[in-house]
């Protein structure tokens, strides 16, 4: 018996020039905020951008973007919602605000279902907000999405970086391209992360300040893009060598 869905995933993503998985070894480092702000920043630069919230059990990008009802349309597949200049898909459109407890096999099935049935169309960037860690979602995306690149987020904490080292190690072993590592919530000058990233043979993309004002902007994307966090993120993004768009 054969699951036919995987056979169509390449076709669904054939017009997407850059698929960027925003990932980390642990939760709470600001992946969703980074992924959402990255997507918005690129969209404001007139790129065609999609944002896919793959953190099925703890989705939060809809809160950052201030979305109450971002239900995709259905027309021979799932047509992403259009929000703030982005094409957007989150499982919240289907699970609403209810808890969605999923085990690994269920996560894989839901990922394959959405990759097989979502019609992203022509995009310069598809930004994927990943769940933390190196379990099912990470392994499935590496297996199913050709040309995927990872952008890894950490904090200055040695605890966070220890988990990031494992993620980077896995990506190296599987020969998955890594755009680089961003150090988020930086409070004081410290070269711990950048030194360790360089020692591991990866690129440090820079650091983002711990900006308490960001929390106040949740749900207001214009205010979010005015924060020091977003401005520094835009500087970092401008230096990343993405695929030509």
């Amino acid at each position: 018996m054969l699951d036919p869905r995987e056979a169509i995933i390449d076709k669904r993503l054939e017009k997407v020039k850059n698929v960027i998985a925003v990932s980390s070894g642990k939760g709470g480092v600001g992946k969703s905020l980074f992924a959402s702000t990255l997507a918005l920043t690129l969209a404001r630069k007139n790129f065609k951008v999609g944002l896919f919230d793959l953190d099925f059990t703890s989705p939060s990008t809809h809160l950052i973007l201030g979305l109450k009802d971002a239900k995709p349309k259905e027309e021979k597949g799932i047509i992403p919602a259009h929000v703030h200049g982005l094409k957007y898909v989150s499982i919240v459109a289907y699970s609403k605000e209810k808890p969605l407890p999923l085990r690994g096999a269920d996560v894989s099935n839901a990922i394959i279902e959405l990759l097989a049935t979502t019609i992203w169309g022509d995009l310069d960037f598809l930004i994927i907000d990943m769940p933390p860690g190196i379990s099912d979602a990470t392994l499935d995306l590496i297996r199913l999405v050709k040309g995927i690149k990872f952008l890894v987020v950490t904090t200055p904490s040695p605890l966070a970086f220890e988990t990031v080292k494992k993620l980077l190690g896995l990506l190296r072993e599987l020969k998955v391209p890594v755009v680089g590592v961003v150090e988020n919530m930086k409070i004081r000058k410290d070269a711990f992360v950048s030194r360790n990233v360089a020692d591991a043979g990866f690129s440090s993309l820079g650091d983002l300040p711990f900006d308490p004002k960001v929390e106040e902007t949740l749900g207001n994307v214009d205010a979010l893009l005015e924060t020091d966090f977003a401005k520094k993120l835009a500087e970092i993004v401008s230096k990343i060598p993405f695929n030509p768009t």
């Binding site: 018996m1 054969l2 699951d3 036919p4 869905r5 995987e6 056979a7 169509i8 076709k11 099925f56 349309k73 259905e74 027309e75 021979k76 597949g77 799932i78 499982i91 289907y94 699970s95 609403k96 209810k98 808890p99 969605l100 407890p101 999923l102 085990r103 269920d106 996560v107 099935n109 839901a110 279902e113 959405l114 097989a116 049935t117 019609i119």
Partner: protein
Amino acid sequence: MLKNFSFHLKAFKGLCYNILKCGFVEGFSMHEWALAEAIISSVSQIAENEGLKEVVEVKIKVGELQQVEIDILEFALSELKMAKFKNAKFTVETVKAELQCRACGQKWSFSRNKLDIESAEAIHFVPETVHAYIKCPKCGSPDFEILQGRGVWIESVRGVK
């Protein structure tokens, strides 16, 4: 009798086509098209890998949980068929959905009738959202396994080499 049946089937397929073409009805029936595309793409790959000159028969199973409209799926398949399997017979069979609680071991059958339209629609698009809408009837746990009847899969492809 057979003629009448053919006529009704044709009329129904014509209606489906109009619905799909004009987009009068969004949602429920449209998802079948995406699944049909996946099936066609998969059969095409199988035919190529197996060196089949012509595909004669494709057996497809559809899990009850996803609430796929079989007639619409068959119509989409007939519209999407490629030259290599334009004469192939596609048979689609529904498999009952059975669930088992991991907490207490209770087994039960999925019933769409117990769901409101929004919940049923969510499960149609992403069957795993069933964990948000259904609980074990015995102990109330959302931690259950879908034993059978999830999604769409190809059981066999028969062809000529």
